[in-house]
Symmetry: C3
Subunit: 520 residues, 3 copies
């Protein structure tokens, strides 16, 4: 090819048509020129043909190769699709694990629900930072399936365990509780659904309600609706108004699979949630047939308390919430969520509606909860929160329980992976159990009326990855020091709760420790 | 290029050889023509060369690109292989979760094994649709490894939990049972294996036998062989005949790790399964040394019953099955599986061979089981099934237990994602326990001879994804209403079983609920 | 194209320039030749053009296709990255499952910790091959997160279960122990860390220490440090010297969340590990405040033993180890690891430092452990090991426990997937409990001083995949026969341990079985 290209150059140099006009040559010269040019042209044409042949061969090979690559890619894609769509695993977890040691070098007493006010279904929480001693795990495995017609299903199960032992093998099954907390199926994308139901989807099984929300900093649910049942989410009543409708069951009595008893008391809750802009209105009615027949029994909530003899068999509950994911109370960028909750009878448990079977038929509860997250100046972020509750005729006619908890967590990011966390908690309680009784190893005792305050201060140097400026980003690894103290009167509430127990009396208590926390 | 093509057209138009014969021109004319034509030809050849050059460059680039893509695809494939082969997770699950509420608003009584006949190792099942109240999960994680020499291994473990509580945290560990049901390794692809063993593979560990099969609609195993052991699958005895050979162990007595006792009774089962076309023949011999020494003890099956004093220490069992995955009893497209089972002594437990240590040395059982699935006209699918069993000298010499269960489930698909399910069950039992005794909280009692029928009717509007016409496709989310009734005499069988318990006596019982079911 | 190629051939055959010289022809002849040749050349050029056109079209299409494939591959790669980086599951497991049957056809007694010497915190192990009867599973799920700034986090949790029942459903929760053995977070890649801390990373939570190591063949940890705490790994003190610093807590007493008790005794261990070349030096100090107050109680280790009245409340522990992953004791290619361990008071538990709260304040332990793996001639591989321990004043002042265990496992690969495994174990013990007492169902008894030897011989034909020549490659499926015998005096040590129990006395005992073992 190069040779014939050279010929062309030489030929044109010698016989360039523009320089030497053909008409000035003799016929013989012209014929010689023509022959020579024709020889060259033929050679060039042959070369071009050969090159075209080769190019065609290469093209054919390349096309075949490309086709085969394409098949491979399709294969790989299919495999990947099957993995995510058919064989894939959804994996999520929440976990905390750490040590809590008191100033005498023993295991410290702690937990957000440590105060006497928490005897009310473990609701009256204080700050959790530097105040947890359990190894707690929620491990969720799930699967999403999608079908060609646009329909889909989603399966989720959550295995959870809570243990106070720090040991790497826990022989005693009663000191921890590995159990299945969630187990449900969701389904949607039905072309049968139209209008308001266009994007609605169904669920059934055991679950935490999708629209629960909490104050992370005190491990306080603002709303924790859960149980086994079924329902429909995302019914679109208008452009701005969405509704969810579900039924949940919870258990109040012995399952009674034996001996001619029939005390499987189920609390059936019919709940409707409506969302309008940032507003949420939740209405729940409930009925637990036969709950009023379980008299003089130990509490159905797992506490040591005895039940009253006028427990309710139904109830209602309402919550109005304003949930702003963009603004810190309309003042600045941030987050703020606020709820006002009211319930009567079985509905008088305000945090976990329907989970307390000991409530009387005259029980009333009013609860207010609010928290915000404020990215403040420079490297600071603030998270204040408050929960206040008033209950009356709760477990006995004539009882009254009032408490309020303030918590303030602050994060001061020092570098990209290190922050100082501060937490201050204050709780005030005025508890009048009006003769409510409980079991103890010294026989049946009576809860004492108490009134007083509690506070906790924590300082926690913390390493974190991800966004150090986000007070809710995880994982974190922290060391901490916590000081707590309370009014001496609170030690008297009961003989088997934390306050007043040996080595944990009013006057000031330190806890120290290290902890990891993660969720994803 | 286009210009030279134009030249050609113009030239041929002017000097077409077919129109103007070269021989009629003067030499001068012909030479001029030749020169012109030659000029054009040279130009065209030069163009073609340039184009071939470019094509070659492009081809080289493309080849390089294709090569690089190929490398990427190989990389991706390798990564995917590693994922499935080295790091991959096999994830499978079966789950059901829902509420079962009776007409008085309490937790309903239910379950496929609710009738007195089920006191025989929980075998005498009726239809499960709208008749389950547990949250049950089987979660399997596995891994497949393949090696360059063609050998492979497969690991599987199954975590299972069964709980009757609908609560989203189960504090009482005794009310649910999270345990490892399977844990085994399979290995194959050995080039040492040849002839009959060419495609055979080994297994060891704890497992459900690979060739178990069931009647899904009544949660009845036709065959549930399981335990811990080892064996070989897929020995090819001839082109049509395959054999499996395994040993399984099950436990019959206290593990006795303490206090000089030695009562770890293991039932060792040697089992052979042969497959010829649709036929399956299973033969099992078993021996549980020392089982005959466990006298006057509580049942080893977990029931309240007392053991006889002539329990067997060995037994045998045979099953002949015809399993047609293509035909509904040869009548139409569909599925049908049928088995005839016979066992003596420890082999007289027909559903779960070798799992019942209370059988006497004279025990005999004969069982017939069959079901089919028939895609019927249009949107209907039918699934009839029957199990009948006769046992004698089962738990006491002279006892006799006869029962038969018919079940009929029908599915009527109304849309692509919605079907109406119907189920009718009828069971007849004639039970003569001949003085068999059991523990109750009123002391030791005697099972009463009873005879009578039971029926159950269920209607279940059901949402499903995937193939709505397939009665076994899942997931499903159903609501349901179930009515069941039985002969009054059956209430008398025992004082601690379901029939006759408070609120659950003959005369008609309704259950209502919602349930999700999924497997993948 | 083929036609024009034919023209060329014919033309050259007729008018080959080398045969018929152009100069010998008349002008007319030459012109005719020229015309003919020119006609052909034009045709050939046109053909070449057409072919170039087609090639260009194909090239354009191919380029487009290649581009689209490239996009797909990028997509696939991205998906795969997301899977491993963001949504991926780390899945690891260890599992063993099998049957152990004695020569009388009952469940065999077995386990590496079967001899009386194992009453010392289950340390004095003999060979495990053909000597295990549990179904044991460790199932680990984890997640790795990486961030753009180079920081990363790693989460791991391990679910474990140990069960002796071979049954495929274990109803009795007390006969198995499913629990969370590990639950921790690691974090690193901090750009704040520099100098010695450049590659260091943090951890917190519950875990097995990263640098634990064991003798697999006797299921003996050389070092098993574990618990809940936090620390830092891989501090680089010099080019050759690395250090780890951690705090671990373990539990010694009742958690005491009730009834005004405060006996949550935590053993806090402060540990430093330094690595220099193959050398490892571990120093641990520990304190368990209040442990000395727990008098006359049952052992905190879960055994039946009673505590002394002078239990320690602190201790120290040191280990010097030489860990050679390349050489079998410097003699040949292979592996060898050796450790010398010494501890006092709470540190006198040499295998699991800090796990035994029954040690007295005068307790002293010295332990030597070593093993090696030697790929010997041809298809043989040898793994000898030894552990020897002396303890005094361990559980009572004046007691003395001496024992030594030798174990020798050999693997003889017969084919690529089949090997014969042999194991010989010999243990000698001289135990003087000096009046140490224990609970039994016959009341409180006293451990007897005993002295004597034990041996075990096992033959195990084994199938395996992967590398049959690697004695530690898994999975394996084995059948085995084991013979063990011991001095009669050892039967007297206690009335509730294995030796001397009914059917398991000195004089020789056979066990047979099948087992699968896997880790990945």
């Amino acid at each position: 090819m190069r040779i014939s290209a050279l010929y062309v150059v030489i030929f044109y140099a010698l016989f360039s048509p523009g320089v030497v006009s053909a008409t000035e040559l003799t016929i013989e010269q012209r014929l010689v020129q023509l022959e020579q040019r024709l020889n060259i042209a033929e050679q060039r044409t042959a070369d071009a043909e050969q090159r075209a042949n080769q190019a065609e061969k290469k093209l054919a090979a390349l096309a075949q190769q490309t086709e085969s690559i394409n098949k491979k890619v399709v294969e790989v894609n299919k495999t990947n699709e099957q993995k995510s769509g058919v064989d894939g695993v959804e994996f999520n977890a929440y976990a905390r694990s750490g040590l809590l040691i008191n100033s005498r070098g023993k295991g410290g007493r702690g937990g957000p629900g440590i105060s006497p006010a928490s005897s009310l279904n473990d609701d009256a929480h204080i700050g959790r930072l530097g105040n947890e001693k359990d190894n707690y795990l929620e491990l969720s495995l799930g699967k999403r399936m999608t079908f060609n017609d646009g329909s889909w299903a989603h399966f989720k199960t959550m295995i959870a365990d809570g243990a106070k032992s720090p040991d790497p093998w826990i022989q005693d099954n009663n000191s921890h509780h590995i159990n299945i907390r969630q187990l449900y199926v969701e389904m949607g994308g039905f072309d049968e659904f139209s209008g308001a139901f266009d994007n609605a989807y169904l669920w059934a099984g055991k679950r935490f309600d999708r629209d629960n929300f909490d104050i992370h900093f005190t491990d306080s649910d603002i709303m924790f609706l859960g149980g086994t049942g079924g329902g429909i989410y995302d019914v679109k009543l208008s452009n701005a108004l969405k509704g969810n409708y579900s039924v949940y069951g919870r258990n109040f009595g012995d399952l009674g699979s034996n001996h001619y008893k029939d005390n499987d008391i189920q609390n059936l809750m019919f709940t409707a949630n409506h969302f309008y802009d940032n507003w949420q209105l939740m209405l729940t009615g409930m009925a637990a047939q036969g709950n009023d027949d379980l008299k003089d029994n130990t509490s159905t909530t797992g506490s040591y308390a005895l039940r009253s003899d006028n427990t309710a068999k139904n109830g209602y509950y309402a919550m109005l919430a304003y949930r702003d994911k963009q603004q810190f109370y309309g003042l600045a960028k941030g987050v703020s969520e606020t709820a006002l909750q009211y319930g009567e009878k079985l509905g008088a448990e305000a945090r976990q509606p329907g989970s307390d079977g000991d409530l009387t038929e005259n029980a009333k509860s009013l609860r207010f909860a609010s928290y915000g997250i404020l990215p403040a100046w420079q490297n600071w972020e603030f998270a204040p929160s408050v929960i206040a509750q008033h209950s009356e005729n709760r477990y006995q006619d004539g009882d009254r329980y009032d408490w309020v908890s303030f918590n303030f967590r602050a994060s001061q990011a020092l570098t990209q992976h290190f922050a100082l966390l501060y937490e201050a908690s204050w709780q005030y309680m005025d508890l009048n159990p009006n003769g409510r009784r409980y079991n103890s190893d010294q026989g049946i005792k009576t809860y004492q009326p108490v009134e007083g305050g509690f506070y906790k201060l924590t300082f926690a140097p913390t390493f974190k990855v991800g966004d150090v400026f986000d007070i809710k980003a995880r994982p974190e690894i922290r060391v901490f020091a916590t000081y707590m103290n309370w009014d001496k009167e609170l030690d008297r509430y009961a003989i088997n709760d934390d306050f007043g127990s040996k080595g944990f009396t009013a006057g000031g208590n330190w806890n120290f420790g290290v902890q990891a926390e993660i969720w994803f």
